[in-house]
Symmetry: C2
C-alpha cells in the first residue's frame, strides 16, 4: 500500500511515542515500532535517519503550561497540580521523559530545563525571596515528578486510584508551600526541625 510521506511519518511517530513511553529507550526497538505502525523498519530509518533522531522527534512536544500570571496567590499550588495532572494524561511525552531520563543524560537535561523554566518564574513572582526561587522550584519539581513517577510509571496502587481532585487537595498545599509560602508557614514550624534526634519528648 502507498501512503503519503507525511502520513507514514505521523504513524511512525505515534508508535514510537507509545513504545518509548512504555518500555524506555533501549527496549523500544525500531523493529517493534515499525511493526506497530504497520510499516517496514527501513522506512523508519529513511524518515528519521537513526534511532536517536527518531527519539528526539518523539519527545519534541510543546510542554508549556497555560499562562500562570493571573492566578490568585492562594491557589497557585492547586492550579499547578491540576495543570500538570491534566498534562500527564493523554500525553505520552512526559512519560517518555520520566522513563528515559534515568538512563539518557540528554533527557535529564531537558527535564531540568523544562521544570526550571516553568517553575522558577512562578516561585520568583509569588514567594518573597527571589534568591531561593531555584530552590523552591526544585522542591516543587520533586513533588510533582514524584507523583508522576508513582502514579504513571511505578504504578503504586493508591496513587493510581486517587482521583485528580483528591490529588489536588493533598499535594496542592505542598506545592503552595514550596512555591509561595515560607518554609515555616505550615505545621511544625514553630519548632526548629533540627531537633530530630534530641527534641522534646
Amino acid at each position: 500500500m502507498k501512503r503519503s510521506s507525511a502520513a507514514s511519518k505521523s504513524l511512525i511517530l505515534a508508535a514510537a511515542r507509545e513504545r518509548f513511553a512504555a518500555e524506555g529507550y533501549e527496549r523500544a526497538t525500531i523493529r517493534s515500532i515499525a511493526a506497530d505502525a504497520g510499516i517496514d523498519p527501513s522506512m523508519v530509518m529513511r524518515y528519521f535517519g537513526n534511532k536517536e533522531r527518531l527519539f528526539a522527534a518523539a519527545c519534541e512536544v510543546d510542554l508549556a503550561l497555560p499562562e500562570m500570571r493571573a492566578i490568585p496567590r492562594d491557589s497557585v499550588g492547586a492550579t499547578l497540580v491540576e495543570a500538570f495532572l491534566s498534562r500527564w494524561e493523554g500525553n505520552e511525552t512526559l512519560q517518555i521523559l520520566l522513563r528515559t531520563g534515568s538512563t539518557h543524560p540528554s533527557v535529564a537535561e531537558r527535564m531540568r530545563s523544562i521544570f526550571a523554566m516553568q517553575l522558577v518564574p512562578i516561585a520568583a513572582a509569588f514567594s518573597g525571596d527571589p534568591a531561593a526561587a531555584e530552590k523552591r522550584a526544585g522542591l516543587a519539581s520533586s513533588q510533582i515528578l514524584g507523583v508522576a513517577l508513582c502514579r504513571f510509571v511505578l504504578e503504586f496502587q493508591p496513587m493510581m486510584e486517587m482521583s485528580r481532585q483528591e490529588l489536588v487537595d493533598w499535594v496542592g498545599p505542598t506545592i503552595q508551600r514550596y512555591l509561595v509560602d515560607g518554609d515555616a508557614s505550615c505545621p511544625p514550624a514553630g519548632r526548629p526541625a533540627a531537633a530530630t534526634g534530641g527534641g522534646g519528648a
Copy 2:
C-alpha cells in the same frame, strides 16, 4: 592471577552495583562490569549464571529503616526524611532501583513493596484513619522518591546543593502532613488558610 572465589564474587558485585546504578539495566553490560572488576566476562557468568541473576544479587540489600515506633508524633516527618536521605548516600541500591524501576517491572514491584511495608504501618499508627493509610503512604512515597529522583538521578542543581538539614526542614513538614496530620491541617484544600491574602474566593 588467582583470587579466592569469594573475593572475585565480591569484586564483581561491587562493579555491577556501580554500573547498574549509573547506567540502568540494559546499558550496563556484563562485559563492562567484568572489565571494571578486572575479571574475565565469563567469570561473571560462572558465578551468577546469567545477567538477570547478577542483577538480582546486586539489588539484594537490606533496606529496612531503623525502628520507628518510638518517634515523637511531631517529628515523624523530619525523622523519616533524615532516615531516607542517610540511606541514599553511600548506598547504591536505591539508586539502582530508581534507575531501573522505570523499565524493569519486577523492580517496580519491589519498590512498591518496600515503600508500602515501611510507610503504611507508620501512617496507620499515627494518622487518625487507618483506612487511608495506604493513600497516605503513597503520597509520602511520592515526595520521598521525587526528592531522590531529582537529587541523585536527574541531578537538579538546586536539589543537589541543598544540605541534608535544609531538605529535612523543607520536606519534613510535607511528610508529616501526609503521614500523620489531616489533609486539612495545612492550608486547607480549596480555601485560603487565613494567612496571606484578602479573604474570600
